[in-house]
């Protein structure tokens, strides 16, 4: 039965993530955002403590824990910096298809060495012409003997320039649409792989986001996840599973913005009183809190279902849609509470607002989530 409450171990885990976030991420978040540079030492530190690769089985060097635990960590790290956390979750996203469909040999060959060192992976799905429309992926995988030859361009790839390993979605034949998709694991140092310039983003600027270009890149057949033609299902299941973490990240951003707004409203005085004594502000804060609490429970439900091997497309779409849309609303309101100061970079809330926007777009736009939800509702 779904139980949202935390065990002692969960609480200790959350405390660890919170402590790590406060000591390691918060102090550098503003600067990383300003200079748009990825803080590599954080990956090393997080790896040492075990805060990445959490859902990879222990025998391959991961934490061996579930999505529930990963979501606890997600909320804490994301509250400190969504940009930094998005690099971690993007890596988890790339590893998820292996967790689902890799053979023991593939886990041994690909997952184990990856998890042994501090490293990030990258999920190469989106293309200039393929965003929400996954089936229109055009990166071509042409079978040539014992390998596939990859050609194509991927866009907006998180960790694109810093990943050690790519999980690439390609098509055997664009005419086949979703039946042609195939997932291949490609080491980033493979000949023919190159990256474009780093995108200059509105927010989550600490994350490295680039084009990844494949020119006659050979990917051995042993690196294919699942069978030919199973690619689309694998991508969908991957996105289903990762939604809870992304939703958890949205909860983190929302919570951080709420806490900042609450604190500020107690300190800021206008008309001889703290603005927290004005009902307009109180009601705003209450609405923000309602969203944070509700989003968190939705996240836990989605994660719990995934951990228990139950299909969670519907619940995870609700969690992601609600949490991301809420984060946007909450962070906008937080800026409003801060007034003029909210618009100034010295204060943290404008960054939360800029970071929140992407949550409504990546890993399935809020519109796609609504499609998933309505399809579930309307299926006969």
């Amino acid at each position: 039965m779904f139980n949202p409450s935390l065990s002692d171990e969960h609480k200790a885990l959350r405390e660890l993530a919170r402590h790590f976030a406060r000591n390691e991420i918060t102090p550098i978040a503003a600067e990383a955002d300003r200079v748009e540079e990825y803080p590599w030492e954080l990956v090393e530190k997080a790896h040492a403590v075990g805060l990445i690769n959490i859902t990879v089985p222990e025998e391959y060097g991961g934490g061996g824990l579930g999505y529930f635990e990963d979501c606890l960590v997600a909320e804490e790290l994301s509250a400190a910096c969504a940009g930094v956390y998005s690099s971690f979750v993007a890596s988890t996203l790339a590893l998820t298809p292996l967790n689902i469909a890799a053979t023991p040999d593939q886990m041994e060959r690909l997952m184990k060495p990856f998890c042994a060192q501090p490293a990030l992976a990258s999920f190469c799905l989106t293309e200039p012409g393929a965003g929400s429309d996954v089936a229109s992926v055009r990166t071509r995988a042409k079978r040539d003997g014992d390998a596939y030859v990859l050609n194509g361009t991927k866009r907006f790839i998180t960790n694109g320039g810093v990943a050690k390993m790519y999980t690439v979605t390609a098509t055997l034949d664009p005419e086949l649409r979703h039946k042609g998709l195939v997932l291949l694991v490609v080491p980033s140092d493979s000949p023919g792989v190159s990256v474009g310039k780093k995108e200059e983003k509105m927010g989550q600027r600490a994350a490295d986001t680039r084009e990844v270009i494949f020119e006659d890149v050979r990917a051995p057949v042993e690196n294919r996840l699942g069978e030919e033609g199973e690619g689309f299902g694998l991508v969908m299941e991957t996105l289903d599973r990762i939604r809870a973490e992304v939703a958890a990240a949205a909860v983190g951003v929302g919570r951080a913005a709420l806490q900042a707004a609450v604190q500020y409203s107690k300190e800021r005085e206008q008309f001889s009183e703290p603005i927290s004594s004005f009902q307009a502000i109180q009601f705003k804060l209450a609405d923000m809190a309602i969203k944070v609490e509700a989003a968190r429970l939705l996240v836990r439900q989605a994660a719990w279902l995934a951990d228990h091997g139950l299909r969670n497309s519907y619940e995870s779409a609700i969690a992601k849609c609600f949490a991301a849309d809420s984060a946007m609303q909450i962070t906008t309101d937080a800026v409003q509470v801060f007034g003029g100061y909210g618009y100034i970079r010295d204060y943290p809330v404008e960054k939360y607002m800029r970071d929140a926007k992407l949550l409504q777009i990546y890993e399935g736009t809020s519109e796609i989530q609504r499609l998933v939800i309505s399809r579930w509702l309307l299926k006969s």
Binding site: E267, R268, Y341, D346
Partner: protein, 327 residues
């Protein structure tokens, strides 16, 4: 048991440390109310002469334990000598300084005597022959009034809280040499490593100038040091600057650093987070310089300047320099 107060004096480099005088001042106060004398004890080697000057500050009897084995402070040696003295003379109250030596010695001595110890006291009251002590807890966020069940009362006193009496050359006191056998000492001092530089020690300073993250880079501490030099002040640092490696932890003022109670505390480029305030908010006067008008430090500052510290601090330095020259 007598009604006397015994002050454990601290001598360093052949001179009485200021805390010894402060203890004599407050000790005399308490002794009067208890109907007894204030006495002092000095331990060390070659300290007999300096010890006699304790009389000038009010000690009515002075015990001297002079022996090579006591030259360097050791917890065991000093505990052995003092425990014997206390058992012999049975004072009502034993005062030690809340200095590094005092804080190291007092608990051991209290345990030896099986009495309670009130650490880091900032106030005393005598009520119906009972001594009540006040001491800060939770890094000064609250104040506790404590009573002790055993006798003698024992307490360490925080430096710079009580006034040091003026020397009165007309005063004299009986001096008694006491057994100075330090006994078995297992934990021994191998050497003392003194920090180069003449600057006053942070917890003993009358004026402290502190720098925070607003300095932007470690080199800019030079601004703080210059101001401190002109004022004869100690230099302090916020936790942010210590964590960033700009200054050693010994400079840190705050909850996990040092608690200072100077007459004047000047905070430059320090926001005034609760952790920092805990270390300095009982300073008599606080001056804050920060370009953020909302910085919490302004809530505790007596004089606050909202402005760029790179503009303000040099002007302060110059102005103080001028004022000093005027005499």
């Amino acid at each position: 048991m007598s009604n006397d107060v015994l002050v454990v004096a601290e001598i360093r480099d052949g001179a009485l440390k200021k805390i010894s005088l402060e203890m004599l001042g407050e000790g005399r106060n308490i002794a009067k109310q208890l109907g007894g004398d204030v006495q002092a004890v000095a331990l060390g080697h070659g300290v007999a002469d300096v010890a006699t000057t304790l009389a000038l500050y009010g000690a009515q009897k002075i015990f001297v334990a002079d022996d090579p084995s006591l030259e360097n402070y050791t917890a065991e040696g000093y505990t052995n000598v003092l425990a014997n003295l206390v058992k012999q003379t049975q004072p009502a109250l034993v005062l030690l300084g809340a200095t590094t030596a005092g804080r190291d010695l007092a608990p051991r001595l209290a345990a030896r005597l099986a009495v309670g110890l009130a650490s880091d006291c900032t106030g005393f009251a005598v009520q119906d022959g009972e001594v009540l002590m006040t001491r800060p807890i939770y890094a000064g966020k609250a104040i506790a009034t404590v009573e002790e069940a055993g006798r003698p009362y024992m307490t360490t006193i925080r430096p710079n809280i009580f006034a040091a009496p003026e020397a009165d050359t007309s005063r004299a006191a009986e001096v008694e040499n006491i057994p100075a056998d330090a006994g078995e000492i297992r934990a021994k001092v191998l050497e003392m490593i003194m920090e180069a530089g003449e600057r006053v020690e942070l917890t003993e300073a009358d004026i402290v100038v502190s720098g925070g993250r607003g300095l932007k880079a470690p080199e800019h501490f030079a601004l703080i040091e210059e101001l401190a030099d002109v004022l004869g002040a100690a230099v302090g640092a916020s936790r942010a600057t210590v964590d960033a490696g700009w200054k050693d932890h010994s400079y840190q003022v705050g909850q996990t650093g040092k608690v200072v109670t100077p007459t004047l505390y000047i905070a430059c480029g320090i926001s005034g987070a609760i952790q920092h305030l805990a270390g300095m908010k009982t300073s008599k006067y606080i001056v804050a310089v920060n370009k953020d008008p909302e910085a919490p430090i302004f809530k505790v500052a007596d004089y606050g300047i909202v402005g760029d510290l790179f503009k303000v601090v040099p002007v302060l330095t110059e102005e103080f320099r001028k004022m000093k020259a005027e005499g």
